[in-house]
Amino acid sequence: MRRSHIFGFIALVWFLLTLTAIVYATRLALFVAPTEATMGNVQRIFYYHVPSSMLSLIFPYVNLVASIFYLVLRRRDPLRALTADALALAAAEVTVVYSSISLLTGMLWGRAVWGIWWTWDARLTSMLLLWLLYVSYLMLRKLSATGQSQTLAAVLSVFAAIDVPIVFMSIRWWRGQHPSPVFGGGADTGIDPSMMPAFGWNVLAWAMWGVFLLVFRFALERRRQASEQDAALIAIEASLEIAQ
């Protein structure tokens, strides 16, 4: 078997396993987990809101590490730098997907339980900032001059990453509207053991989906880079023929 065939086969198996995990996790979250005492069925949004939020604080680090690799390698080893850049782009897109889901599910939940769609407390504000930073990262890549965009984006990525630990710590450092951490928050926090399978499976399923998106988008970007290089090569060859 050719290498690309093996890769395609693994991707297909991964995709099918991911779909299975999502179906099972959805069943647990919506039908199996018990109804919560203080909020009722609305609390089930927790099984989507928290995993998405966790993932939107993990993928930025993939983007950061890939961006640092790009910055280090861009002169020494431009071809490898391009690989790092493709990974950085893919990770930023997945970050935007999950942070959007986190914000939207959070607003729906907030409206139902707090009575408001939005408030400017530390957690919500720093999370909106995270979303804006990675959206601006993607816009910068689209709008900056060719040849400059990778470097500019990689530098922006380093600065955007500062916000990630701030979002994580916001409910630990500061008083706000958002509840304090459910996990590891001390007394009067935590979820009932009967809710743990629904939570664990949703984290796993959405993490698998995130990894699938990341790898798929990375492969797509690698193809785009290859075709861009081919086009450049053809253009150079064509110009040489005219010169003769």
């Binding site: 009722g40 408001i116 407390d121 450092w173 706000g176 009067d188 979820i191 009932d192």
Partner: protein
């Protein structure tokens, strides 16, 4: 010179990172402004009457008197009480009931009554299964002591 360039960039980056982190941390730590407790409200002195504030507490059971979309009730926090008069465009949220954790947004009057224009609920970080057939209870846990 070319060998020094990355070190300069890294040093400058670290400097910016540290500054932003420090500003964010100390800035919000010093103000803690999202809401105040009833104790902090009474310790504020004259400033309490001139600012738009958010006060947190638990609704004293039996104190809610509704009138149209408005309501009047008493907030409790660490043994302290605060009378709140809510007049807003929207009726109080469903989660607003006896013992519930609530935030009242508005101004503190010299009459000792807090005039709220908005009510928000706070939700818990502890989830337990409901007993079968029971309606959601709302967050009736006592507000955690101020940090």
């Amino acid at each position: 010179m070319r060998g020094l360039a990355p070190i300069k960039i890294i040093a400058a980056t670290l400097l910016v990172l540290a500054t932003v982190g420090w500003l964010a941390y100390t800035g919000v730590r010093d103000t803690k402004s999202y809401y105040c407790t009833i104790g902090e409200l009474s310790a504020m002195g004259n400033k309490a009457y001139t600012r738009n504030l958010r006060v947190a507490g638990n609704v004293q059971p039996g104190s809610i008197q509704r009138a149209g979309t408005g309501a009047s009730f008493v907030l409790l926090e660490q043994g302290r009480t605060l009378r709140v008069n809510y007049q807003g465009a929207e009726p109080p949220p469903d989660t607003f009931k006896d013992d519930a954790q609530a935030l009242a947004v508005g101004t503190y009057g010299r009459d000792g009554v807090f005039h709220a224009t908005q009510l928000q609920a706070k939700c818990a970080s502890k989830y337990a299964p409901a007993k079968s057939g029971e309606a959601p209870s709302g967050n009736t846990a006592m507000l955690a002591p101020a940090k």
